[in-house]
Symmetry: C2
Subunit: 347 residues, 2 copies
């Protein structure tokens, strides 16, 4: 592994506060979070006052601060998990790390606590290799390398734009799977990072991710809202939709997406069986959207993440708009988001 220097001032940690009492969450993460600047965005539907322990450098945004920035006329929803996208919007840093408030640090196979932020930044600062699969996983990890037969011309790799971490204890399963296997817990710590190959689509989970905001910030867009969407991960799909957009855009721009380390440990919440009715909508949706994202191609003229989101919105409207109005609304939100991104960026 190339030695990676983590510069504190390059990193924002964005936390979407879906729970009012962040004391336990933040104290568990204190050894990791305290050296960085935090952006805490309160779910706009959350009534109770936030409880945030001392000892952090944090900017906190509630509904009124959000409206000061985006106005009250925007059609973009910053409630539920989508509140954190506001943090992506107002961050000025190169790297953004975002971890759900029901996660605590995980332990590796040796029993050591994992510094999830450090691992994410290593993933983002070392190259990705989307154009050829390395059987030895991420060749830029410590002790790893390119396997025999890996073309030398592809060993330089490309910039990594998105790092998707994983989950111990409660993996990010959907409601049907969770309802079918209520006792299932993930205890398998897979000590690997890998680049997801070009043109391979993946369901990005927003629970534990990091990205290079300069490269693809605007592509992380809160666009798709399910009717009856709740405040439990498996009742939402905004992150899945966003991840498919980001992957297509990274493929188009020649950027990489990594998956694997770091793990976080997720605590349980929600009743899978209660959620099944809502979730079924998200499950059906995937059958429509995956063929779309697998085949959509962006024009060569789209050379920035902003351009790409706008072009993607056009294709969504044309090809998916007739399937369900929620897709047209998602396309509208994507266009609106880019306007917001540009206006906030130039403010």
């Amino acid at each position: 592994m190339s030695q990676v220097t983590i510069n504190d001032i390059e990193v924002d940690i964005v936390i979407g506060a879906l729970h009012s009492d962040l004391t336990t969450f933040m104290n568990e993460w204190k050894p990791v979070f305290s050296r960085f600047h935090l952006i805490i965005v309160k779910d706009t539907d959350l009534k109770e006052e936030l409880q945030i322990p001392e000892g952090f450098s944090a900017d906190v945004y509630t509904k009124s601060e959000i409206e000061q920035v985006v106005g009250s006329s925007t059609s973009i929803r910053f409630s539920g998990y989508a509140c954190r996208y506001f943090g992506f919007l107002v961050s000025k840093k190169k790297y953004v790390v975002c971890i759900d408030d029901d996660c605590v640090p995980a332990k590796d196979n040796a029993g050591n606590f994992v510094d999830a932020v450090a691992q994410h930044i290593v993933n983002l600062k070392t190259p990705a290799t989307p154009f050829f699969f390395n059987t030895l996983y991420d060749p830029f990890c410590k002790g790893a390398d390119f396997v025999r037969g890996y073309p030398f011309s592809l060993r330089t790799g490309v910039d990594c734009a998105l790092s998707c971490g994983l989950w111990l204890n409660l993996a990010d399963l959907d409601a049907p799977t969770q309802a079918l296997k209520p006792a299932q817990r993930n205890s398998r710590y897979v000590d690997a990072v890998l680049t997801v190959p070009v043109r391979a689509m993946l369901p990005v989970s927003g629970i534990n991710i990091a990205f290079n905001r300069e490269l693809i910030g605007p592509a992380l867009v809160p666009a798709l809202v399910l009717a009856g969407e709740g405040k439990i991960r498996w009742e939402t799909v905004e992150d899945i939709w966003c991840g498919l957009c980001v992957k297509v855009i990274c493929d188009h721009l020649g950027l990489g997406v990594k998956s694997g380390l770091p793990y976080v440990s997720r605590t349980e919440r929600g009743n899978a069986i209660d959620s099944l009715k809502k979730e079924w909508e998200g499950v059906k949706m995937m059958e429509e959207v995956v063929p779309f994202f697998q085949s959509v191609r962006l024009p060569q003229s789209a050379t920035t993440a902003e351009d790409c989101v706008v072009e993607m919105a056009k294709s969504v409207k044309e090809q998916l708009g007739k399937v369900d109005p929620m897709f047209s609304q998602a396309a509208d939100a994507m266009e609106e988001w880019i306007k917001l991104w540009k206006s906030v960026g130039s403010a």
Copy 2:
């Protein structure tokens, strides 16, 4: 994980004997190998008599037995690592497992010996999922599952045709890397199997693999021979070439390729610096062949592995033949191999 039953009579273990004394190798593997039928093929250049310990059910093939089957006029070379392809040819089993004779069983993170054959058969008997990336790795492994957002229509998966295992101690690096990092050893046991996505190319190593012979047997073809090829892995590319052929064919036929577990432990041999001169030829070759394999498409009329190899040979001759005569020779060997495969199969 679906419970997998391993039927001894469905499996052949093929061993290419590049060393005359197999005593240590086979005794180390005895707990794993002894319940299966073995096909041991002696490198046709090896002069010394083979030493094989008792306690195995093995058919041994030497140069004279090979010539009885394939005749003495075939242009296919069964020397060096290519001797094992003769074992693939004469096997009558559904599954073939093939492990180099410089490997011994590895230990997992808990210190238990890995049954590499059982893991390979589990990989082959459970479906592969090449059309969408599962961030939780192989969903058919014990304790794993499909992640939220994975389309239900793709969860059935497809047949897995090839299982590529990995290496502890000495990873399968090329000579330049090995020369640069002589002390590097792989001690990272990554507890995962994954399907390599459709259209993603990988450098398959022949050190530790298994395949479904009924589905893709003839696609494992000893075709590409480097000038000055030696008896050390990094001096050869037959497995890399073969793997690229197999991956394209699996993609075309809608079959899967998995990579990851099982590990074997490789003992050291060979001098990387001595090999550099030879290896450079293989390294250069990859720059030519990767764009070819990434873009080659087989006609819809090719519906079997045999058809696919013949069609691939045509494309190789047309597109790579002009680059270097070794590619035309490889194409000839591919055609010859299919003739042999058919004649041996019908005998």
